[in-house]
Symmetry: C2
Subunit: 324 residues, 2 copies
Amino acid sequence: MTPFSSNLEACIDTLGERELIRNIASWLGESGQSSPSGIGDDTAVIPPSTRAQLITVDSLVYGRHFDDDTAPEAAGAKLLKRNLSDLAAMGGRPGSAVIACFLPPNLSLAWLESFYRGLAKCALTFNTRVVGGDISSSNNDLAFSLTLLGQVQNPPLTRKSTHINDTLWVSGSLGGSLLGKHLNFTPRIGEGGWLAGRSGVSACMDISDGLATDIDHLLASGQEALLEPNSIPVSSAAHELSKTSGKDALCHAMVDGEDFELLFTLTEDVDPVAFSSAWKDAFDTPLSCIGRIQLSSTSNSHIRWADGSPWDKTWHGYEHLGNT
Amino acid sequence: MTPFSSNLEACIDTLGERELIRNIASWLGESGQSSPSGIGDDTAVIPPSTRAQLITVDSLVYGRHFDDDTAPEAAGAKLLKRNLSDLAAMGGRPGSAVIACFLPPNLSLAWLESFYRGLAKCALTFNTRVVGGDISSSNNDLAFSLTLLGQVQNPPLTRKSTHINDTLWVSGSLGGSLLGKHLNFTPRIGEGGWLAGRSGVSACMDISDGLATDIDHLLASGQEALLEPNSIPVSSAAHELSKTSGKDALCHAMVDGEDFELLFTLTEDVDPVAFSSAWKDAFDTPLSCIGRIQLSSTSNSHIRWADGSPWDKTWHGYEHLGNT
């Protein structure tokens, strides 16, 4: 569904700012909150927190993260889920959110309603509340940014805190997200919170730029990942895509973006079998041990296959503009 | 200075995402923070808070809130100051910020550096730290949104909590901000915090859409503002503008946007003379009592002049798309 309309009466410009905000509050329903704890004052008021808090911001741009083929409900949910995936990677639980919208004058009001209803449904599912926002007229682009707060019960999971001989793990399966998963993924909030509560989890992140690119962000300096190719969980979408792309399904699993799975490490004293079994008791989400961390033997690649060959640099992950 | 360059080598597209983030962290300097409390992980970690917190988001769009004539440093500072003004209106003190950028490929790297350096300087002045962000490629527009957290020492100042016979006050002077104040204003953080600590301050907001428009957002239902025209602090810029605009300077003070002054009410038991004197002891910022609140006598206007005539609706404030 295209977000734009040439029928002026169907566009957001027919409403004034206050009327548009009233509409948004109604579309958000229970997932929105009114002042003082939400929409309607200069700022929202949120309660004190006795625990450390998390904050993250992620964006959605028409033509980059969604297009005319994307259901507006799915686009709205994706905006929130991108942030939820970041929170999951730190072991956090979601809290309040605020959203900034950049809306061109020819944006269809019906599209915006469906976008917000998709966001609202996702917010209720993950116990998030939209407490405020900002609406700006854009000249051309349709874009959104959402800032999400969260809390951690345990010390947050971080990157770069890996050790030599830590084992490497990923949730779910990887590759080919363009065929649908980039929209219909499930942020691993439950899994991330569970990991943060276990001993021996040394580092964690979410895979958004592709395993090959992201693994470098997880490793501390002087380390490389030793990967077992047969252990990498290649998705059926990656296999599907490889039929027409001319690339290996494994290549798709290594370099495709927007998997939104967790990549984490366990210290070598953790028994992998007992750990896998505990995970399986808690979650239906597949889990794979894909390798381990070793001293870096070369500065040319941060990934080495189990047979000793370095990761082929020509398979590099697509470097898109993402999180800072 | 135009933000765009036709020289490809001077544009942000010459850098990859990671290199751009490294540059931004360097431009932010002391006003930025690195992981785990800042930039570099999936989310930033912020400390617990024993007090109620505030959250607000505001945006900046090229061609709407700044243009080729705007110094990039001033644009960066304005993005933060718009949020600080919202925080001031609640009586809050600034805390952590995250920023989302939507950058077209032909954005000049030098412009972006100056933008961030202006933001960084302002952040240090107001004791704010940029703990995270997101960078997205845009198709066309140059836009930013900033989410700011804050804390309150006292119960936050809200809107709609006004009473009949409360007196109405504004800080500073109003009108003609287009001549410069929309960029070089000072968010009234000190004043807002001071107001939140005094008894008898019944409501507060910042004036961003013009006094005539915003006063309606302050009043509770069934109330109207009785204004004394000679008491409204008309800025010299409003007088300057009136020479060429064909409008009264008072009209500019009533309807021009982006004043970023505080509008607040005092309960009738507060002695206005003693209050003004205490303010003057604390601040150099001018203060004016502009009228009081009375029972609404008509549904046509929420403002009445002291001579009994209603506010002339043809003077309506420009309704731009702003805060929800």
